[in-house]
Subunit: 415 residues, 2 copies
C-alpha cells in the first residue's frame, strides 16, 4: 500500500516514451516551418530554440537567457499542440534539454506572459471533479510520496507551505517557525482556546500552537501518511492530550472552535466546494471566533498550469482573493480583517527547497528515477518563478465574526 | 449658486410635514394592533416603543437600552411601511422622539441585525443611475453644503474620511495626519514620483504628500466648493507648482502616474462604474506603479441604509472587498498587496466628529434649522454604530503592478 503512489507517479511521468524515429534525421521542411511558426508566436521571449540537428532560431533580438533543445520531431509537434504539458513532459523525459539556467529560462517566459498578459487570456479556469474520493486520490498522489522523500529537502519540522522570513537572510527553519508565530498572532490565540486546523500537513503548526500558545487543537487531513507521522510526533512530545489529529475530509468537520485555521489547503478545495467550505467555517466558528486562510492565489482567475495540474497537483486551483472573498467569506458573513501578500516569501522558500532538493538529487533518483528528479526540478523552479514574477500570489487572510475582539492596529505583529 | 444645496437639503429633510391629526387622540385598536405586530417583528431588541398617548410595549425581556416615542398615527404607519426611511425622517422632523441615548438605541438595533442576520437578507443591492451629471448632483448634494459648515466640526485640515489612531487616545488632528503617513508609507512614495488622487476632498492629503514626500500630485474632485478651497490652500502654501487640483470626473482621468490613490471616493463610484474605474487606473498607472483604495465597505453585498441613501448620500454604495477585488482589480490585473480593516478607527473618528458637531449644534441650527441638526445627528451616530457593530467596514487596500518594487514585510509601517 505504501508503495502505490510512488510507482504510479513514475508511471505517469514516463508514460510517453522517447521516440527514436526522427531523432537521427536532419530537420526537414515541416520541422523548419513549425519552428518559424513557434518563433512568430513566442516572439520577444529572450530564448533560443534549437532542433536535434542544430537548426536554431532566436525568439528575440536581445541577449538570450537560455537555449531549449528539442530532441525529436514528435516532441516538436507536441510542443505546438499542447505547449505547457509537452514542455514539462519532454523536460522530465529528457526529450527536451535546457542549456543555461532553468530559472532564467522560466523567468523569460513568465515575464513575457506578464507583460503581454497572454497568460491571462489563455486558459479559462476549469471546474474539476472533486468529490471526497477524488480529493483523497488527489492528495494521496502528491502528499503520500513518502515521508522519507520530503525529509530529504523540507526543513526539519516538515513544513510544506510558504515560510515567513523577517529578513531575507533568515534561515528556513527559523522562517517556518516565524510563519507559525505570525499566524498565531494574527488570530490572537489565547490560552485555553480551541483551534480547528483544516489541512494540517505533517502537523507542525498544530503542535507549535499547543506547545507555545496553550490551546487545544483538532487538526484534519486526508493524507494517511501525514496523519500517521503527526500522531507519532504528538505522542513523542506528550502533546497528544492537547492535539488531536483526525484523518478526515474537511467537509465532515463539526467541532466548535474559537479559531479556524487553514494553511495551504484552499488550493486543493476546488471552486465548486467553496460554498461547502464556507458552511464548514460558519458551522464550527464560535460567535467571537477568528480565523486565517493561507493560500496560493492569483491576480485574476486562471487555471493552474496544465502540466502542474496533470503531473504534480491533480485537482488544484489557486483562487483570486476576490473569489475567496465572494464565495467563502461573504456567504458566512465573515469580516476580512487583514490580507497580506507574501509572494516573495514563497519564492524564497522555494529557492531554499530547490537548493536542498538538488543536494539530495542523487538520493531522489535512487528512490524514483531521473524522470522524477527532472519533473520535480521543473515544478520547484517553475513555482519559484511564478511567485517572483507575480504570476502566483500567496495570500494570508485573517477574518473574524463581527463580535470578535480585534486588535486596534497591527503594530503588535511587529514588536 | 452657493446657496442652492443648503436650501435643497432643508427642503428635502422637511418634505413630510408633521400631521396634526391623531396626535391628540388616544391610540385606538388599529394603533395597538400595529404596535403588537411591530413587537413580534422586532422581538429581542432591548427597546421600549411608546405611542403618543402613553401606550407602550417592550420589545425584549431584558433591560431596555432606550425608548422610542412615536408621536402620531401617520408616523406609526410609515414606520411599518418603510422602517428605515420613516425612522430617519420622523426623528429628524421631531415626529419621533428618542428617550435615552441615541447611540445605545442604534447599537441595540444594529446588534440585533448582526445577530439574526436579518439585515443581510433584507435589501438586495441596487444599481442606481450614475452618469456624470448624476454623480455631480450627488456629490454637490452632500459636499457642497458650505465649507463653513464642515469647518464647524471636522479637524482643522478639513479631512472628511476615517482617521488612523496609533492609539485610541491620539487626538483627531494627529490621527488624520497619521492616516496620511500610513497611506504614503503603504504605497512607498519616493521623491520625484507622480501621484494621481481620485476624489481629493478639500485637498489635505494631496498637500501633505507634496509637502512631506517630494512628489507631484494631480488631484481630482467634482465638488466645486472643495476644489476652490483646495486651490486657495495650495497657493497660500506655495505648493501650487507641485499640486494641481482639477475639477473633473475621475472618468476623464488620463494622467500617467507612479501612484494612484483614492481615499473615500469608491463609495460614490457605484457598482456599474467599477469596470470604468478599473480602466482608469490601468490607463494611468506606470508599469512599476502602486496604489491604494480606502473605502467604506461591507461583509456582504447590501444596499446602503435607505434613509442615508435618500437624505444624506444619494447614489452611495459601500462595496464588499470581494466586489472591489473582482470588479476593479482583477480586470486591471492588479496585485493585492495588503488589506487593512480600520472599522474601529472610523467609529472613533465619528465619535470625535459627533462630539464637535454637538458643540456646534447651535450654529448649525442657525444655518440650516433644527431638522437638519437632528438628521445629521442621526447620520453621525448611525454611522458610528455601523462601524462599531461591524455593519460597516473600512478597507484600506494596497495594490501594485506585478513589476512594482514591493516591501519585504510590513514592519517598516510600524517603526
Amino acid at each position: 500500500m505504501d508503495d502505490t503512489p510512488r510507482t504510479r507517479t513514475i508511471e505517469v511521468l514516463t508514460a510517453e516514451p522517447v521516440r527514436g524515429r526522427g531523432a537521427a534525421r536532419a530537420a526537414g521542411r515541416l520541422d523548419r516551418w513549425v519552428l518559424a511558426r513557434m518563433r512568430r508566436r513566442l516572439q520577444g521571449i529572450p530564448l533560443r530554440v534549437s532542433l536535434w540537428d542544430g537548426t536554431s532560431v532566436s525568439l528575440a533580438d536581445t541577449a538570450e537567457a537560455a537555449e531549449v533543445v528539442v530532441k525529436d520531431r514528435h516532441t516538436l509537434l507536441a510542443l505546438v499542440r499542447d505547449p505547457a504539458v509537452a514542455f514539462g513532459d519532454a523536460y522530465a523525459g529528457g526529450r527536451l534539454e535546457v542549456r543555461g539556467d532553468l530559472v532564467r529560462l522560466l523567468e523569460a517566459v513568465y515575464g513575457h506572459w506578464q507583460e503581454t498578459r497572454v497568460g491571462h487570456r489563455a486558459e479559462p479556469p476549469r471546474r474539476q471533479p472533486s468529490g471526497r474520493e477524488q480529493a483523497r486520490a488527489n492528495i494521496h498522489y502528491h502528499y503520500d510520496l513518502g515521508n522519507d522523500f520530503y525529509r530529504l529537502w523540507l526543513d526539519e519540522q516538515l513544513v510544506y507551505t510558504c515560510a515567513y522570513f523577517p529578513t531575507p537572510g533568515t534561515p528556513l527553519e527559523e522562517a517556518q517557525t516565524a510563519k507559525f508565530d505570525h499566524v498565531c498572532r494574527k488570530v490572537r490565540l489565547r490560552p485555553g482556546e480551541t483551534v480547528v486546523e483544516a489541512g494540517c500537513g505533517w502537523g507542525a503548526l498544530a503542535l507549535h500552537m499547543a506547545r507555545h500558545y496553550g490551546v487545544t487543537v483538532k487538526a484534519y487531513n486526508i493524507s494517511r501518511e501525514q496523519i500517521r507521522f503527526a500522531r507519532a510526533r504528538a505522542k513523542a512530545e506528550g502533546l497528544d492530550g492537547r492535539v488531536e489529529f483526525v484523518e478526515d475530509d474537511y467537509r465532515n468537520l463539526r467541532s466548535r472552535c474559537d479559531v479556524f485555521l487553514s494553511v495551504g489547503m484552499l488550493e486543493h478545495v476546488g471552486q465548486q466546494n467553496y460554498r461547502v467550505f464556507a458552511e464548514v467555517i460558519d458551522r464550527c466558528l464560535a460567535p467571537n471566533g477568528r480565523g486565517l486562510l493561507h493560500f496560493i492565489g492569483r491576480d485574476r482567475p486562471r487555471a493552474l498550469n496544465a502540466w502542474i495540474r496533470k503531473r504534480i497537483f491533480p485537482g488544484a486551483y489557486p483562487p483570486t482573493l476576490g473569489e475567496v472573498a465572494r464565495e467563502v467569506l461573504e456567504p458566512a458573513s465573515l469580516t476580512v480583517l487583514d490580507v497580506e501578500n507574501l509572494r516573495l516569501h514563497y519564492a524564497l522558500t522555494l529557492r531554499h527547497w530547490r537548493a536542498r532538493f538538488e543536494e539530495a538529487a542523487g538520493r531522489v533518483s535512487e528512490m524514483f528515477g531521473e524522470t522524477f528528479v527532472r519533473a520535480w526540478r521543473l515544478y520547484l523552479a517553475g513555482s519559484e518563478v511564478g511567485f517572483t514574477t507575480g504570476y502566483l500570489q500567496l495570500f494570508q487572510l485573517t477574518f473574524a465574526r463581527a463580535a470578535a475582539d480585534t486588535a486596534w492596529t497591527r503594530a503588535e505583529l511587529y514588536r
